[in-house]
């Protein structure tokens, strides 16, 4: 406001000066004109008059000169000033306030320049808006791509884990999670060596000279699973020598391995026992053959030996056949198919080959273990041959249960083909089945195939297959009522390094945290109160990973008072028989490995954990943050530092309170919000947070409550 007013005053002054200047100049001009045009007598008179009024003349002359100067200043200085002003304003638009526009009207004859600057400002703003939109849309696309990738990964049946070069897990899918079994071992930011032996991975990485892929047979740390691990390097596009990380694809060979081991055992048993029997038989028969002078009784004895051994061998073969039929059940080429589905597939293929098909599904649930593709192709092939020889195009397909078997029939009006011809068809190679012929398809599935006549008018082609059971559903841990999209990836972790020895300097938004909570029988650990439940969840790279959780009921080895059950809902029956805290702590310690512990009024929980730490030989040595204290740092003016109070203040919705897991999740959300607030107060590293917490702690009155 002030500059404008003084400028206005200046302008007004200038204007008045200009008028004066014009007037004086006009008078002076008039005098000069008179002097010039007057006759010599008048000239002398005027000069005398002027000389008489020398002072006045001097003043008027001075005024005239001043007037001229002012006139000049106005004509020249004005635009210069205006230009300078425009320059300042333009800079304002460029650097400080992009919305500001120059006043074209007040710019006088520099108006075109002002308008040009304004146009440029408009264009610039428009360009910036466009760029911002493009960035947002590109970001959105990347986000969508990532989501698609995550969804794809989640659906893969193969277990996949992507790690950075230090072995920190960046991405994994539900199959990997199911495979790992133990939730403390697999998670974002965790070391993959909790799932696969470090030595084997290192060995594989060493062997990767030249080629990109490696196959290993590895075992998990727990030694219970046999995994085939495919390892592929991920290359950093900017640094070709050092890999950015690697991808592991895991196959669970345990089942197959077990099946093979079983089969080997059966074979071994068979050959050993057979060898033994043959030995006895051979010895006995040789005795009879080489010694014709044997008495009848002796000969009988030897022959009885032969008889016994052969009977035993026969029985062994029977049992091996039974075992072998079970082995077929483990053949992984075959899969369980529901009866109606197999019929539908067959009808579809027959329809494609121009048959008219009617379908009769089985009356009750019937599952078959077959290579469904091969069976359909085999039957379609036979149907084709049937059509060629009998002209049949109408087929009725049915599936019935027949004892322990499923009976799949193709029926038609007419007679069955000649057995010899049918035998030939069975031996013909099939296209696309990967199995040579129809007979082998049936054989592979443990079944038989033949033709016959139902009565004079109807014939059938029958496939008899052993019935199977409905397959067990793959247990999906992913379905989570809390999380809508499972967070199984974090590509930012590609750049994460192993925690520096000094936690203090690590940034709060980069660290990993385990936020936990416990429920107890009461408030006094030294007075006999114990933990009844402990739960935790993880924050990695600023994100709460809801489905990476730890949740255990703990046997307190004492009764649970009704009053405390009323608060947390855990009764004595629920915890009797559960593992004790000494048994649970090592697993919790593993879950919380390499993270900072966070809790609300955490020293309370830690006091309950301490005695068990000693007993279990486990030390939770990591740094600890207390959301109660952090809230005191962030909101020193407030007095309510209860979890609900903070949550309400920070706009965190409170759902499912008073279970250890519910409280842990709530504390985690509160913590994330507090981290943001603390950043606003200049607290960004762990060290700063700890120092601030301590300062607040020491300033609090109720020190007795927090003695540790």
């Amino acid at each position: 406001m002030t500059p404008t007013r003084s400028r206005d005053r200046w302008d007004a002054g200038m204007a008045i000066g200009g008028v004066v200047a014009y007037v004086v100049l006009a008078v002076a001009g008039l005098v000069v004109l008179l002097l010039a045009t007057a006759g010599p007598e008048h000239r002398a008179a005027i000069t005398t008059a002027l000389r008489a009024q020398a002072l006045a003349v001097a003043v008027v002359s001075a005024l005239a000169v001043a007037g001229l100067v002012v006139l000049l200043a106005r004509t020249i200085g004005g635009p210069v000033r205006r230009a300078r002003r425009l320059a300042d304003e333009t800079r304002l638009v460029g650097e400080v306030n992009p919305d500001h526009r120059l006043d074209a009207e007040g710019a006088g004859n520099l108006a075109p320049l002002a308008r040009a600057v304004n146009d440029l400002a408009e264009q610039r703003q428009a360009a910036q808006r466009e760029i911002a939109e493009q960035i947002a849309s590109a970001r959105h696309e990347v986000e969508q791509e990532r989501n698609r990738l995550a969804a794809l990964m989640a659906q893969l049946t193969a277990a996949v884990i992507v790690c950075n070069r230090e072995g920190r897990i960046l991405l994994y899918n539900a199959a990997a999670r199911t495979l790992a079994g133990d939730e403390t071992m697999i998670g974002l930011g965790r070391s993959v060596f909790g799932v696969v032996d470090r030595a084997l991975v290192t060995h594989a990485l060493d062997r990767l000279v030249g080629s990109r892929e490696q196959v290993l047979v590895a075992s998990t740390l727990h030694g219970q699973r046999l995994l085939r691990v495919h390892l592929t390097l991920v290359h950093d596009p900017h640094h070709d020598e050092t890999p950015a990380g690697f991808v592991l694809v895991l196959e669970d060979l345990t089942r197959r391995h077990r099946a093979t081991t079983r089969r080997d055992a059966v074979l071994r048993d068979l050959t050993e026992k057979t060898r033994a029997s043959l030995g006895s038989i051979r010895a006995a028969t040789e005795s009879v053959l080489d010694y014709p002078d044997l008495s009848a009784e002796e000969r009988s004895r030897f022959l009885r030996v032969v008889h016994e051994e052969t009977a035993a061998l026969g029985q062994r073969v029977e049992s091996w056949v039974d075992d072998w039929t079970r082995e077929v059940a483990d053949d992984e080429v075959l899969g369980e198919v529901a009866g109606p589905d197999l019929l539908d597939l067959l009808a579809l293929e027959l329809g494609r080959r121009s048959f008219t098909v009617t379908t009769t599904p089985p009356p009750d649930e019937l599952w078959l273990r077959v290579d469904s593709n091969a069976v359909v192709l085999a039957l379609a092939h036979l149907g084709g041959r049937l059509r060629e020889s009998t002209g049949t195009t109408d087929l009725s397909i049915e599936l019935h249960r027949s004892g322990p078997h499923g009976q799949l029939d193709l029926r038609w009006r007419g007679s069955p083909p000649h057995p010899a011809a049918f035998g030939r068809w069975l031996a013909e190679p099939l296209e696309g089945a990967g199995v040579a012929n129809a007979r082998e398809v049936a054989e592979r599935a443990g079944g038989e195939i033949w033709c016959g006549a139902l009565d004079g008018a109807t014939a059938y082609l029958r496939v008899l297959l052993p019935a199977s059971e409905a397959p067990t559903r793959v247990d999906s841990h992913v379905t989570d009522d809390l999380a809508s999209r499972p967070e199984f990836y974090d590509f930012d972790l590609f750049d994460i390094r192993l925690p520096a020895p000094d936690w203090q300097d690590r940034r709060l938004d980069e660290l990993a945290f385990t936020v936990f909570d416990t429920e107890t029988t009461g408030l006094d650990p030294s007075g006999g109160d114990r933990i009844v439940s402990i739960a935790g969840t993880r924050i990695v790279n600023g994100r709460l990973l809801r489905q990476e959780r730890f949740e255990r009921l703990v046997d307190p080895r004492r009764g649970v008072p009704v009053a405390s059950t009323a608060i947390h809902g855990i009764s004595s029956d629920m915890v009797t028989g559960q593992p004790t805290l000494e048994e649970v702590l090592p697993a919790f310690a593993r879950f919380a490995e390499d993270t900072v512990l966070v809790g609300h009024n955490v020293s309370f929980d830690l006091r309950f954990l301490e005695p068990a730490e000693r007993a279990a030989g486990v030390s939770l040595g990591q740094p600890v943050l207390d959301t109660l204290l952090l809230d005191a740092v962030a909101h020193p003016a407030y007095t309510d530092h209860s979890l609900e109070g903070i949550a309400e203040r920070l706009g965190v919705s409170v759902v499912g309170r008073h279970t250890a897991l519910g409280d842990a999740l709530l504390t985690a959300e509160v913590f994330l919000a507090l981290v943001v607030l603390l950043q606003g107060r200049g607290i960004t590293t762990l060290g700063e947070a700890v120092a601030a917490s301590r300062a607040t702690f020491e300033a609090r009155v109720d020190r007795s409550l927090y003695r540790r």
């Binding site: 052969t310 009977a311 322990p404 000649h418 057995p419 035998g423 008899l464 297959l465």
Partner: protein, 123 residues
């Protein structure tokens, strides 16, 4: 008149023992070495019972059985002998028209008992 039994099997060792035991039990015997020969011999000798091995060259036992039943040989008793033991095969054998089904290794005593039972049932 003693019943005539045709033995269709391509393994000479088992044929030898079967013939011996059956003859000693009072039956007449004849032998065929493969599926086609079995069909021809049935036509020629018109036996009362056929011991039919499932796995033979040229025509397997199921084919022979099915062909015979389809060409009017309904009164002929057919006993299938097999080295495999799967339930689905037994079902198939019975479905294509066999009267009985015996798995190797079997006891010849049991076989003779079965054969006798079948032939007596007819008579």
């Amino acid at each position: 008149m003693p019943a005539r039994i045709l033995i269709a099997d391509d393994e000479p060792n088992i044929v030898m023992s079967l013939e011996f035991v059956l003859r000693r039990s009072g039956f007449e015997t004849a032998v065929a070495r493969d599926g086609q020969e079995a069909l021809d011999e049935v036509e020629r000798l018109r036996p009362d019972l056929l011991l039919l091995d499932t796995m033979m060259p040229r025509r397997d036992g199921y084919e022979v059985c099915q062909t015979l039943r389809a060409t009017g040989w309904d009164d002929l008793k057919i006993v299938m002998l097999t080295a495999k033991g799967r339930q689905t095969e037994v079902a198939k054998g019975l479905a294509v028209g066999a009267d009985a089904y015996i798995t190797k290794p079997f006891s010849t005593r049991d076989l003779v008992a079965e054969v006798t039972r079948l032939l007596d049932a007819e008579g």
